[in-house]
């Protein structure tokens, strides 16, 4: 939904609290990076509740906790009661009319410690100190204080005569049960405010938002997973991430020319120390050949720099796309690099000198090897020993007539990117498959835009088995899947036991299948699987 925020006038630490774009973002469950709502539970409850203001958001944060979800009455948790009452699915009722004053803002569901204080004040005549004792007993779970407060509460109710003894007992019983989950409202509101600010930043400054989160992903225990989740979220929002680029030399994720670019140290096997050394070496080569790196071609990199860097780093730079600026296919670069690595230092130096003598000419690797072969053998030439001549001739034969087609196969590019970057950026396994069987994508599933029936072709990323503990299928196994395609990842894909037992062998990490299912309350329920 559009909004009327004039961002030039907005203070990000104090944004307008009624931006429809922000509330939409939270309500559709797009909560990655949003304070307190990032978890699957937070996302799911945000989607169900659809908060429209800070009151709702504060309550959402307060009741998205195990205690609230385990507090059951009338076969529903306190959380679900709140959600259903807010959405008009359940009527708003109060155990006693005297409670309306305290509980109106939360649709009759007690969410905050402060509400228990208000109730005690309203019906038991507690003063502020006594009410605070009640809050302490509830908040800190102090049984001795609780029993003292209970006696005072019941006595107070008797004096006030607003509720009878039985009603007073019952009301106190809830307050007592509520100690499991009642949240401090000031805490809840403060959290809600932070959530709103992060959501505002995400809604209005998405590139800066994601760049910041990506840059600080290393603070998370599983930072690779964090990067993957963030990038998948960005795909949902049509925000591209660009592969690493050696010319930019950004160690971590950075917004450069309005493009979010992968950090070089986020490539597997390439750390800060490697990049620091590489920077120096690149600078030396730039001075040596009088060309800045952004003007290099592949031969410049190969001949003047590749031998100065360790093999793993060069290969990882190639396979991650960091050298794509050299306008040569990755497989070709790897092959040429391997050929070049077979030459001895003396031979490489000879070739370098030839290149320096003709700075404006573009040489192919075959021409460079021929030049080497044409040079005198021995001390005066490039190749020192006669035996090496046969070897270099063999190298040239391989370059001129490679034994196999050297080209970037999607399968290999996708595999390498997944291994080195943790996520596919320029190629996905599914690019090799006919996905026209499925009308939906993983993004459609996550955005709930599939319609009642879903068909999708996707790669299985994760299979989580679950043993059924009750019901007709007790003891059997079902599974929850995470699927991936070019548009992102989708979770909450359930395969019930009858289907799972049939297709179990097709469901493993890396398998590509066609899935057919229907939309359930909490995700997709699969009823047919075809392995592709």
């Amino acid at each position: 939904m559009a909004c009327n925020c004039d961002l030039s006038q907005v203070d990000i630490t104090n944004p307008p609290l009624d931006c429809p774009k922000v509330w939409d973002l939270i309500s559709c469950g797009d909560c990655k990076g949003i304070f307190q709502l990032e978890s699957q539970l937070g996302r799911s409850l945000a989607k169900q509740l659809k908060p429209e203001n800070m009151e709702h958001l504060s309550a959402l944060i307060s009741i998205s906790r195990p205690g609230a979800m385990e507090s059951i009455w009338d076969n529903k948790s306190a959380t679900q009661h709140y959600i259903d009452r807010k959405n008009g699915i359940e009527p708003i009722t109060y155990f006693h009319p005297s409670l309306e004053n305290a509980l109106k803002s939360t649709y009759g569901v007690i969410c905050y410690q402060e509400q228990s204080m208000k109730i005690a004040k309203d019906i038991a005549g507690f003063n502020l100190q006594e009410a605070d004792n009640l809050r302490k007993a509830v908040g800190k779970k102090l049984p001795k204080l609780m029993s003292e407060v209970k006696i005072k509460f019941l006595e107070g109710c008797t004096k006030q005569k607003i509720v009878n003894e039985k009603e007073a007992e019952e009301i106190f019983g809830w307050i007592q049960k509520g100690q499991r989950y009642l949240f401090c409202k000031s805490h809840g509101v403060a959290y809600a405010y932070n959530s709103y600010i992060t959501a505002f930043a995400k809604a209005h400054y998405p590139k800066q938002f994601f760049t910041s989160y990506l840059k600080h992903s290393h603070s998370k225990p599983d930072y690779k997973e964090e990067i993957k989740e963030l990038i998948n979220n960005m795909k949902m929002m049509d925000i591209p991430v660009y592969p690493p680029n050696l010319t930019l030399f950004n160690e971590s994720f950075q917004l450069i020319d309005n493009k979010i670019t992968f950090g070089l140290t986020d490539i597997k096997g390439i750390g800060s120390a490697v990049i620091t050394k590489l920077k120096d070496k690149v600078k030396n080569v730039e001075e040596f050949i009088q060309k800045s790196i952004d003007k290099w071609n592949w031969t410049d990199f190969l001949v003047f720099l590749s031998a100065k860097v360790d093999k793993t780093s060069v290969e990882n730079l190639i396979n991650s796309g960091a050298l794509d600026f050299l306008q040569t296919e990755r497989s070709q670069m790897l092959h040429d690099y391997w050929i070049w690595s077979q030459l001895r230092e003396r031979e490489q130096l000879w070739v370098q000198n030839e290149l320096l003598r003709h700075p404006k000419k573009q040489f192919t690797l075959s021409e460079l090897l021929q030049y080497l072969l044409d040079s005198p053998t021995g001390k005066a030439g490039g190749i020192y020993h006669k035996k090496r001549v046969t070897f270099v001739k063999s190298l040239k034969k391989i370059v001129d007539k490679p034994p196999y087609k050297i080209r970037d196969a999607i399968r290999i590019t996708a595999k390498n990117e997944k291994e080195l970057l943790g996520i596919n950026l320029t190629a996905h396994k599914l690019d090799d498959y006919d996905t026209s069987l499925g009308k939906d994508t993983c993004r459609d599933i996550m955005k709930d835009s599939t319609g009642l029936f879903v068909t999708v072709v996707a790669e299985v990323v994760n299979v989580r088995e679950h043993k059924i503990k009750s019901g007709k299928a007790k003891g059997q196994y079902m599974a929850f899947l995470t699927l991936s395609d070019q548009t992102g990842e989708a979770d909450s894909i359930a395969v019930f036991s009858d289907i799972y037992s049939q297709y179990k062998d097709h469901l493993y990490e890396g398998s590509v299948c066609f899935f057919e299912g229907k939309v359930g309350k909490k995700g997709i329920i699969v009823n047919k699987i075809i392995s592709l």
Binding site: L395, K397, Y404, K405, Y508, S531
Partner: protein
């Protein structure tokens, strides 16, 4: 469920003795494991120089084999030797290239896939090609592209299918081509032609086996026996 690529490969050699033979040609073609599609545009083919090719008595010592190759290629024996010298690459480089090629077909290592290398398939590879490959990889200190945890020898596979029903008079490739009436392009006993024909036989039998094989037929088959 197999999801490892098959690599159907063949070595043309300068001797019929696997303990001494050196390859003069390596050819390979990959087979996609689920669809069993022969990836004919991703073949591997290289002429290899045996290490002793330039020795004076090489021709004498390998005369029979050289003549055999020459007749298959419809050239003179001396021309065959010249071809190896002119087009052949050093053995170690050829092996390294073959290694790099096979690595492309490794699958992702996951909790279910510990051995990621492709599965070698070929005609008489257990008795011949695998032995040579392992030996020369060791000699050249190049890692072998296959772990051999799984391997499929077409000669053995066909033996088990035909062993009591008659069929081909022997299990030589030429006999099999005739028996199956295989149309083929290229010259018989050119490594790439042989490899593609072998791959086609393998795929056909594997497709047939997949139709016949159901877990229910095997699970508990010995129960109560």
């Amino acid at each position: 469920m197999n999801h490892k690529f098959y690599i159907c490969y063949d070595l043309e050699t300068d001797s019929p003795n696997p303990e001494e033979a050196h390859p003069t040609e390596i050819a390979a073609v990959p087979i996609e494991p689920r669809s069993l599609k022969i990836l004919a545009d991703e073949t591997f083919n290289v002429i290899v120089q045996p290490p002793d090719l330039n020795e004076k008595d090489y021709f004498e010592n390998h005369s029979d084999t050289i003549h055999w190759h020459a007749s298959n290629h419809k050239v003179e024996a001396k021309d065959m030797l010249e071809k190896w010298k002119k087009e052949g690459v050093e053995q170690k480089l050829a092996l390294q290239e073959f290694n790099r090629y096979c690595k492309q077909f490794e699958i992702e290592k996951t909790s279910q896939n510990w051995y990621v290398d492709p599965i070698p398939v070929g005609y008489n590879i257990i008795g011949f090609d695998n032995k040579i490959l392992q030996r020369i990889c060791q000699d050249n200190k190049v890692s072998c592209p296959f772990s051999f945890v799984n391997q499929v020898d077409i000669m053995h596979l066909l033996f088990t299918w035909f062993e009591n029903i008659g069929g081909p008079s022997n299990f030589k490739m030429d006999t099999l081509r005739e028996f199956f009436q295989m149309p083929h392009e290229g010259t018989a006993h050119e490594a790439l032609t042989d490899v593609i024909d072998t791959a086609r036989i393998f795929v056909r039998f594997l497709q047939f086996q997949r139709k016949q094989a159901h877990v229910k037929k095997f699970k508990g088959a010995f129960n109560g026996v």
